[in-house]
Each structure stands twice: as structure tokens, then as C-alpha cells.
């Protein structure tokens, strides 16, 4: 990092190919580049191990290769996550949760590579994902329950005079879902990467004693990888819980 450079510079979007369609700036940026890498990687990671074309029908076909074990792990992880939170009806929404989890997870993890770009550290990206989930879940609720979906805001077994107070609270908490969902991911990524950059600045500023922040950075990088996984998990599990709410109301 050059001296005086802001630790926030890593979040700058830089256009790679400028594209302009009907006055809209649709430039292919470094953000889009890392989305491409993430998408291609996920598809490759989960598809290639299962592309065995030999059809000998022998037992050897059923032994998983090492790569296949890794992708099965991801598959089973999300599968059991949905099973635990939504139940059997959740099977339909498996591809959505799976795609969301993997997209965010590998977006976060690729962001840990030096000189890469973390698209999940952009509020516009996380907000778009969260709004997508929010709109999907709301539409799902209305499709499943019709007008009864408004009953979601009424807590059963509550005295009637409490309702004027609690219904607005429920509505606000419902509407704040996409904000909390997006800001949680965005803020975690932003804070982590900024912290790493700030301490990296100390390493170069302190000379020999820079070894201390360097050790700290190494530990912090491990923590950041954990957070990268954790935030993707939180996003996925909250999506599952919202789907569950939409399916079963209370």
C-alpha cells in the first residue's frame, strides 16, 4: 500500500470494459469480473466431479472422488440446513438457498485473495440480494396464504388492546429484514477488510516493529476467513427462516 493511500481504496470500483447501453452505464467492472470468477468457479466446482460419463454400472462408479466429496459436503450442508429450518416443503427452495449461500461464500472467500475485489462489501450488491430474498418471501407468503398473510403481523394469544402497539412493531421488524440482512453482510466485509488494510499500513510504518501488526494480521486473516463463511451461513439460514415464516406464518 502506498503511503497516504486510504484503506478504503480497495473498495473502489474500476471499469474494465466500458459499456453504454441507451445511456445506461453497464461497464464491466472489477466487481463484475469477480462475480464472473465466482459464478464460473461455483459451477465448475459442483459440476465437474459429477460429469463421469462412463456408465459401467459397477460399484467403482459410486465411489466419490476427492473433489466430489468436497462438493457433496456443500450439497449436504445446505440440504440439512433447509431440512432443519423449513422441513420437507423446503426442498423446492433448495436451489435458491444453495445459489445464494455459494455465491456469497465464494464472493467472500475470493475477496480474501490480495488484490482481488470483494463484491459482497458493496451495500448495493448485498441490498439487491436481500431485497430479492425479501420480495421473493413476501410474494411466496401472499401466494400461499392470500390475504391471510397479514395475520403474520398479529401474534396469536395476545390481548386485543395490545394489538395497536404490537402490529406496527411487527410490521417495522418485517420491513427492516432486508436492511438488517444486507447491512450485516456488507458491514462485516467492510470492517474486516478495512481493519486488515489499516494494520497493513502499520506494518510498513513501524519498520522493524512492524512484525507485531504482521502477526496480528495473520491471525486476523484466519478470523476473516471464518467470518466469510459465517456471514454466508447467516444469510442462508435467515433466508431459510424467512421462507419458513412465509410458508407457516406463526
Amino acid at each position: 500500500m502506498a503511503k497516504g493511500e486510504s484503506p478504503l481504496k480497495q473498495f473502489e470500483v474500476q471499469p474494465i470494459v466500458e459499456i453504454n447501453v441507451f445511456g445506461l452505464d453497464l461497464s464491466f467492472t472489477n466487481s463484475a469480473l469477480w462475480m464472473t470468477i465466482t459464478t464460473v468457479f461455483i459451477i465448475a466446482f459442483f459440476t465437474i466431479p459429477f460429469l463421469k460419463t462412463k456408465k459401467t454400472n459397477s460399484v467403482e462408479d459410486l465411489y466419490p472422488s476427492r473433489l466430489q466429496v468436497a462438493s457433496e459436503l456443500g450439497f449436504n450442508f445446505i440440504s440439512s440446513l433447509i431440512n432443519d429450518t423449513v422441513g420437507k416443503e423446503g426442498k423446492k427452495y433448495f436451489p435458491l438457498v444453495f445459489a445464494l449461500f455459494m455465491f456469497i461464500l465464494f464472493g467472500n472467500l475470493f475477496g480474501m485473495i490480495p488484490y482481488s475485489f470483494t463484491f459482497t462489501s458493496h451495500i448495493i450488491v448485498t441490498l439487491a440480494l436481500a431485497m430479492g430474498v425479501f420480495i421473493f418471501v413476501t410474494v411466496l407468503g401472499f401466494v400461499k396464504h392470500g390475504v391471510k398473510f397479514f395475520g403474520f403481523f398479529v401474534i396469536p394469544g395476545l390481548p386485543i388492546y395490545m394489538l395497536p402497539l404490537l402490529i406496527p412493531i411487527e410490521v417495522i421488524s418485517y420491513l427492516s429484514r432486508p436492511i438488517s440482512l444486507s447491512v450485516r453482510l456488507f458491514a462485516n466485509m467492510l470492517a474486516g477488510h478495512t481493519l486488515l488494510k489499516v494494520f497493513a499500513g502499520f506494518v510498513s510504518a513501524l519498520g522493524f516493529f512492524g512484525i507485531l501488526p504482521l502477526v496480528f494480521i495473520i491471525a486476523l486473516t484466519g478470523l476473516e476467513i471464518l467470518i466469510a463463511f459465517l456471514q454466508a451461513y447467516v444469510f442462508a439460514i435467515l433466508t431459510c427462516l424467512y421462507i419458513n415464516d412465509a410458508l407457516h406464518l406463526h
Binding site: 478504503l8 481504496k9 473498495f11 473502489e12 470500483v13 471499469p15 459499456i19 445506461l24 452505464d25 453497464l26 461497464s27 464491466f28 467492472t29 466487481s31 463484475a32 462475480m35 464472473t36 465466482t38 459464478t39 461455483i42 459451477i43 459442483f46 459440476t47 459429477f50 460429469l51 460399484v59 459410486l62 462438493s71 457433496e72 450439497f75 433448495f94 436451489p95 435458491l96 444453495f98 445459489a99 455459494m102 455465491f103 463484491f119 462489501s121 458493496h122 451495500i123 448495493i124 450488491v125 439487491a128 440480494l129 430479492g132 456488507f186 467492510l190
Partner: protein
């Protein structure tokens, strides 16, 4: 903060996010995930079929063990029967033999006793006649009586 300052790239980011997420979602939904699921199902079926086969084999083995045990028990019973029969017949035979031997011995004892008694009688009568003779001789020598006139 570039996240809030670079508003000019919002549309671009949203556009590319939409493009790539839709691509990812579509490929995963219609290609990758069904493939994985099919594979896992295939393996589960294989494992299940082998488990049920194993159960069958275990049942068969248990049946065989039962058969074996009943047969062994039958054989043991038969063996015991044969042994008992043999013991009984041996007992009867030996008793017969003992009886026969005892009778034989008794007979021999009887015969011997008879023989002894006969010999004893004979000896006694012989002794008697000899005594008579010697007594006669003695008297004739003393009295000079005719030998034939003496009567004892």
C-alpha cells in the same frame, strides 16, 4: 466510502449481479443440482439394496444355525438311546452268565459232596470188615477156636 460515493456504478453492479446470479441459479437448478441429487440417490439405492440383501443373508444364516442345532439334538438323542439299549442288553447278558456259572458251580459242589460221601462210606465199611477180621484173628489166637465158628 466508495460504496456510497460511486453512485455511477450502481446500475452496472446491479446489472452484472443480476446477470451472474441468474446464470448461476439457472445452471445450478437445471443442470448441476439434479446431477448431484441423481448421483446421491443412485448411491443410496445401492447401499439400501445391499443392506436388504445383507438382512436376507443374515436370516438365512440364522435358519441354517437352527437347522443345525435341531439336527445335532436329534443325533444326540439317538446316540443316548443306543447307549442305553446297549447298557441294558449288556446287563441282562451278564446276569444270565452269572446265573449259569453259579448253577454250574452249585452242581459241581453237589457232585463232589456226593462223591466224598460215597468214598467215606466205602472207607468206613472197609475199615469195619478189616476190624472184624483182625478181631477174629485175635480171638482165634487167644482161644484157639475154630476160626469159622466165631461170630462177632
Amino acid at each position: 466510502m466508495p460504496q456510497l460515493e460511486q453512485v455511477e456504478f450502481f446500475i452496472s453492479q446491479l446489472f452484472w449481479l443480476g446477470v451472474f446470479f441468474v446464470i448461476l441459479f439457472t445452471v445450478l437448478t437445471y443442470f448441476t443440482l439434479p446431477k448431484i441429487r441423481a448421483f446421491l440417490n443412485k448411491r443410496d439405492e445401492f447401499v439400501q439394496s445391499h443392506i436388504s440383501k445383507q438382512d436376507e443373508l443374515i436370516k438365512k444364516a440364522e435358519q441354517l444355525i437352527q437347522n443345525y442345532e435341531t439336527k445335532i439334538n436329534e443325533a444326540k438323542d439317538q446316540a443316548n438311546k443306543i447307549i442305553n439299549e446297549a447298557k441294558e442288553s449288556a446287563l441282562v447278558e451278564s446276569e444270565k452268565l452269572i446265573k449259569a456259572t453259579e448253577e454250574k458251580i452249585q452242581n459241581e459242589i453237589k457232585q463232589t459232596e456226593e462223591k466224598v460221601a460215597q468214598e467215606k462210606n466205602q472207607a468206613l465199611s472197609e475199615l469195619n470188615s478189616q476190624l472184624k477180621e483182625s478181631a477174629t484173628n485175635f480171638i482165634t489166637k487167644i482161644t484157639n477156636f475154630d476160626k469159622d465158628k466165631i461170630k462177632i
